[in-house]
Structures are given as C-alpha cells and as structure tokens.
C-alpha cells in the first residue's frame, strides 16, 4: 500500500478494528450534524461506537436515539431537509421497516447516507448475512455501493457523502457491508488523518434548506399527475449523473489514500475464458477458489461489482467481453422472477456484446449459510462444463443447499 506522506503530519497507525467500528470511525471524521439510528444486529457496532464518540464530545453530532428504524430514517429526512448532513445505519428487517421512507428520501432528493449491514429478511427470523435487504431497495433511487471488507467499509463511508451531495446527484447513498463477515471481522484498517478526511468530505452546502435564514421553501409537497412523472424522470438523470461522479470521487480518494477503488473490481480477467461475478465480502473466497482453479489450469477470473446502483453497464460489458461463460453469484432470491437480481443486471449488461457469454446463475449463502472456497470452486467447474457443452442452464443452481 502506498500512502501520501506529508512533512508535518504523521499518518495514523493502522487500526485493528471490525467493519462496524471502521464505519463509526469514518462517521466520527465526517461529523454529520445528525445521526439517528435504532439498534439491530449486526449493525450495533456502528452505533455503539459512534455513541461513545458522542459521549466523549469527539463529534458535534446530535445523536437521536429513535424508537424504530422508520423513525431513524424519518429523522434523517427532517434533518437533511433542514440543512444538516444526516446518517443512519441498519440491517435487514430494519431496512424493511424503513421502506416507505427509503423512497421518500430519494424522492425528496436528500443526500443522506445509510450504512446497510446486510442481513436476511424474516421470516424465518435470521440475523445473518444475505443480500435480501439490499436487493429489496435496488429500484428505490439510492446509490448503492458494496464493500467487501472493513477497509472498504471505511473508504466507501468517506466517499459516500461527496457523491450523494454533488449538485448533479442529490440522491441518498447506501454503503452496503455484509453483516458479520464485514461488520464483525477484525482486520487491519488504514485510516486517513482526521484533517484529510474532513477536508475531503467538506461540509454539506445545500441550495435550499428549511433552516436557511430568510428561507421559506416547502419541502416534500404533493404532485398530481401534472408533475410526478417529470420529477421521476429527473431522478433518472440524477442517477445517471452519479455514475461518473462516483468514478471521479473514487479517483480523488485514491490520490489521498493510495487505495484505488473502481466501479467494478477485476481479478485475473485479462486471459479468462470463464468468470464469476460477485457482490460484497464473498470476493475473498472467490479469489481463493480462482487461485486453486488456475493452479489446475483453468483460465478463470472474477468480476466484483462495487457500484451496484447505478449499475455500471459499460464497465461490466468491457470487463466481460471475451469471456466465454460467466457464473453470476446471487446472495438473494428474486422469487418468481425470470432471474435473480444480479443475474438480471448481467444479462442486460452483456446482451449486446458481439459474442455474448454463456450465463448461469448461482444462489448461495442465504441466511448466513457458509461460503467456503470449495463451494465457489464447484461453481467454477459448473461454468467450465457449461462452456464445454455450449449450453446455458435454464434455472439457477443452489450452492451449499442441503
């Protein structure tokens, strides 16, 4: 890792913290005006650690201990419309309870940030990781970015407000980190000096805000059939605009941190004949499976989608062009749909490639089911077989299902 060394500033020593603590650390540096949250496993590390920062006077934040997740996001909407930077954090059922306000936040064009510690949706009750929660919000006009480890949870948290608040964007941002695998795993995390983080993030400077001296705007009013459609179309433009803003901000952040992040991350794709596509923390095991398969002479690579919304179609197309067969790893089921969520996106992204790869879908890791290397190796072997047979299976395969 290369870091920019300043003459007068000593870089903070690397920390050994988990993903939840890494997010809280970033939130301390960002010092949002308002944080409102309701405890839910596995998000609790974030809000407990942040509460300590509040108790020790290390932030100026007004921390609101609300009585539900719906209220958490509602308070953020009020705070953000008022002119404050606002953040929350939640998981699975908490996001489900917020759902009405998920759409209100984006429809009101409020650039608040949510750290989503992904967790299965009930029923049956399950506190462990899958992407059912994140997939349920994928059409709600939030920018969604999946990190794969505590370092990225921190890095993405620092970048998030700068994307959301960009005048060409003004949309809420979900920093998605896998429940337990990221939130509870202690790893080395390199952090920016406080002043670097603060100057990178700056302050929220909205054009109109409810607390604006002399201001008198009406926020969140009623649209009849004469304006609603146009306002939704503007959200499409904002979402489209956000893609290049994300790219620019990740590049700017790399200059500061020395850590390069891209909209999609590639591993050994250059000469790959087959590939796996993945979201989130399973990346590590997928890489290990790829290393093993490579040792066996299989030309396989990996594409990890970091920016999930807006979906980076061009980047995905470019990365997968020339690959003969692709396995898509979905950690949530789109019940009754022709394909699961990530598969749907990959189908659409690759459909106009001159030589579209054969595609097959894998469902894995639901409700915290283990994701060992051997399981992904099995997926690679399936994809190799599909390539050899020149045929796409019609239905998804279920990895690790008993």
């Amino acid at each position: 890792m290369t870091t920019k060394q300043k003459a007068s500033i000593t870089l903070p020593a690397p920390l050994a913290i988990n993903g939840g603590e890494a997010v809280a650390y970033a939130m301390r540096q960002i010092d949002p005006e308002v944080v409102a949250a309701y405890p839910i496993t596995p998000q609790t590390f974030i809000i407990e650690r942040f509460s300590e920062y509040v108790a020790d006077g290390l932030v100026s934040t007004e921390y609101i201990n609300v009585e539900s997740e719906h209220a958490a996001l509602s308070a953020c909407v009020g705070a953000c419309a008022a002119g404050g930077r606002a953040q929350t954090a939640t998981s699975g059922p908490g996001l489900a309870l917020m759902f009405e306000i998920v759409w209100v936040a984006s429809g009101m064009r409020l650039p608040l940030v949510m750290h989503l510690c992904s967790r299965a949706l009930s029923a049956p009750l399950n506190i462990l990781c899958d992407h059912s929660d994140a997939m349920a919000m994928r059409e709600s006009s939030w920018i969604m970015m999946f990190g794969s480890n505590p370092q990225e949870a921190y890095d993405q948290a620092i970048v998030a407000p700068t994307v959301a608040e960009h005048p060409d964007v003004l949309l809420p941002f979900a920093n998605v980190l896998d429940g337990f695998t990221v939130t509870h795993s202690v790893e080395r995390v390199d952090v920016l000096p406080d002043e670097d983080a603060k100057s990178f993030v700056g302050e929220y400077e909205p054009e109109r805000w409810a607390l604006q001296p002399g201001g008198g705007a009406t926020f969140g009013g009623l649209d009849a059939n004469d304006f609603y459609f146009e306002h939704k179309r503007q959200q499409v433009e904002a979402m489209d605009n956000s893609l290049e803003v994300v790219r620019r901000q990740l590049d700017k952040y790399a200059e500061l941190s020395g850590r390069k992040m891209s909209l999609v991350e590639e591993y050994l794709l250059d000469d790959a004949e087959v590939a796996l596509v993945v979201l989130g923390s399973s990346e590590g095991m997928v890489r290990a499976a790829i290393d093993q398969a490579r040792a066996d002479g299989i030309k396989v690579g990996m594409l990890r989608v970091r920016l999930f919304r807006p979906f980076p179609v061009a980047d995905v197309r470019k990365a997968l062009s020339g690959v003969a067969a692709v396995g898509v790893l979905d950690r949530a089921i789109a019940f009754g749909a022709p394909a699961n969520a990530l598969m749907q996106d990959i189908v659409m992204a690759t459909r106009t490639l001159p030589e579209r790869p054969l595609l097959m879908d894998f469902v894995y890791g639901l409700g915290g089911r283990n994701t060992p290397k051997q399981m992904f190796r099995e997926a690679i072997d399936h994809v190799v077989l599909a390539k050899e047979q020149g045929a796409e299976p019609e239905s998804p395969a279920y990895l690790g299902l008993r």
């Binding site: 100026s60 609300v66 719906h70 209220a71 909407v77 009020g78 953000c80 607390l211 926020f219 009013g221």
Partner: protein, 316 residues
C-alpha cells in the same frame, strides 16, 4: 406572553390564500390562529392529511414559512430531525443561533393512530417542539373513515349506520390524557371558536421548556354533516356539552380554561351534526344515554384532577 389583539392584527399572514381546503373547514382557522399566536418564526412539519394535500400541491404552496412533509405517521420525527440539525449547525458554528419555533400539524389519524409511536418517541426524547393535533374525529382526507378519535355512535364510511350497527361501536381514545402521561411541560385541549383560549395556549406551549401538545377540535362540515356556516357553532356546542373540555396541564398542573363548559346535554351537540342523526332521531335513546354517561364520568375525573392540582398548588 399576553395576547394583544392590536398586535395580532398587525402580524403578517403566514398562511396564504388559495388553498384547497373545503368551505367551512376549521383547519385553516386553527392554523392561522396558531401561526398568529407564535412569537418566533416557525419551521413546520406536516403529516399527510387534508391540510397537507390542500396546501402544498406543486408548484404552489400556501405556506410563507418553511414546511416539510415526509409521510403520514412521522411528522413528530421529522421535526425531531429539524430540531437536532438546528442544534448541531449552531454548535458547529455553521449558523448563528436565532429564535425559532418547531411546529407540527397532524390530523387525528396521524396523531391518535398511525403516528402514535412516532409522536410518543419524540415526546419522550424531549425535543423542543409544539405538536398541534387538528382533530376532526376521522380520516377525512381519504373520505370520512373512522379513527380512534371518532365518537361512539358516529356514522363514518367505515362505520356506516346500518340495520344492526348504530355507527361506531367504540368509545374514543383519550389522546390528550395519554400525552399528559408523558409528563411533558405543556398539554392542552382547545377549540377554534375560542380563539383567545387557543392562542393563549399556543403562547404557553411556545414558552414551555420542552415538548408541548395542543389537541384542537376542528369540526369537519363534510364528515360531520353540517352546513358550512355552522363550524364555529358546532365547535362551541362540542365544548359546552362537555364532549370537548377545554383544559391544560401545565408542568403537571391540571386546569380548566376558557369558561362556558358543561352547561348543556350532549344531545344538543349531537343534534347539530347529521353524522349522529340515526341515534338522535330513531327513538332509541340508548346510545345517546351511553355517550352522556361516559361524558359525565370523564368530566368528573377531569374535575378531580384539576381540584387535586389546585389543592397541591395552594399547599405548596
């Protein structure tokens, strides 16, 4: 703190003309009284409801003060966020401190029912704001359906008076006393026909050291079935019959206010509203008698609380 009529007439109107509320609606009357009574400029949060949809249709707005609407149930939480942002922006030095009053308007649906949790949470957290419930005893915005504020026996579109059911079957929730049980500094019931009482309560609410709640009865001519010129008369009858006692709970002290209360039988108020015509004209007096019995009991309980407060005050 004292209201001076001359000063009130000189205040700039902050709720404009051209809104789409019905002729005869009591809500804009209440809103104007509240806004005129405030000493500080307000920042308002609205719950979804008649007032919100009739005053914020894009690209127009009736409001000359900042207003935020987010959803039906969460206006108290919206204002929590605003109040929190204000504190933090001042603490950070990003904004000069200035006197502001954080204010919410919500209907009885938003207050008694769907938004009960959000309001209770915001009161417990102690945000400094005034919550004004515009209580028209039903979900009027969606077409006159029953709420937990609807009176026993009332016709609504979801409690129609039929051959076997005489309108609403349940007694209403006593929301004001539930709010008083949160032990916040100021709680009151008010009515639009008694503007001086209502506006004095708004002044007290604004001066309170913490959250304040004012429950305003806002007769709905469409839902209660009376002529559009009878709003103030119906409001007065609700108070004079004891169906809507005017009182306040100021720092735990219960006090009747406004005068002229409980000097008529409930039948006088019920007869002014055709939503009760099936129980006032069918010869069966049992529902009316039950309403009278419950009103008498609640009145007695309220008097006892006021007397206890008076005794405690005189002893201290």
């Amino acid at each position: 703190m004292t209201l001076k009529l001359r000063e009130l007439t000189e205040k700039t109107e902050q709720f404009g003309s051209g809104h789409a509320l019905c002729a005869g609606c009591a809500e804009p009357v209440a809103v104007r009284q509240v806004l005129a009574a405030l000493v500080n400029p307000p920042v308002v949060a609205l719950a979804t409801g008649c007032l919100e949809v009739a005053t914020t249709r894009f690209p127009d707005t009736t409001w000359k003060v900042p207003v935020i609407h987010s959803a039906f149930e969460n206006a108290a939480t919206t204002i929590s966020g605003v109040e929190a942002a204000y504190k933090a922006l001042v603490r950070k030095g990003r904004m000069e401190p200035r006197p502001l009053t954080f204010l919410v308007f919500g209907g009885d649906g938003a207050t008694y029912d769907i938004g009960f949790q959000w309001l209770s949470g915001a009161l417990e957290r102690g945000h400094k704001f005034i919550y004004v419930c515009l209580n028209n005893e039903g979900y009027m915005n969606t077409g006159i359906q029953r709420s937990s504020a609807t009176l026993l026996g009332a016709w609504t579109t979801t409690t129609p008076a039929g051959d076997v059911r005489p309108g609403k079957l349940q007694w209403h929730k006593d929301m004001t006393r539930i709010i008083a049980a949160h032990n916040i500094p100021y709680v009151a019931q008010a009515a639009v026909h008694n503007w001086k009482d209502l506006m004095t309560k708004v002044r007290k609410a604004e001066a309170a050291d913490g959250p304040a709640f004012i429950n305003v009865i806002t007769p709905c001519d469409r839902g209660w079935r009376f002529d559009t010129d009878k709003t103030m008369e119906v409001s007065r009858l609700m108070v004079e019959s004891g169906l809507w006692p005017l009182y306040e709970v100021e720092n735990g002290v219960w006090r009747m206010t406004g005068g002229g209360q409980k000097r008529r039988p409930v039948i006088d108020a019920l007869k002014s509203q055709k939503r009760f015509s099936h129980i006032t004209t069918n010869g069966d007096e049992s529902v009316v008698a039950e309403i009278q019995r419950r009103v008498d009991a609640e009145w007695e309980s309220l008097q006892q609380l006021c007397e206890m407060s008076a005794r405690a005050e005189s002893e201290s």
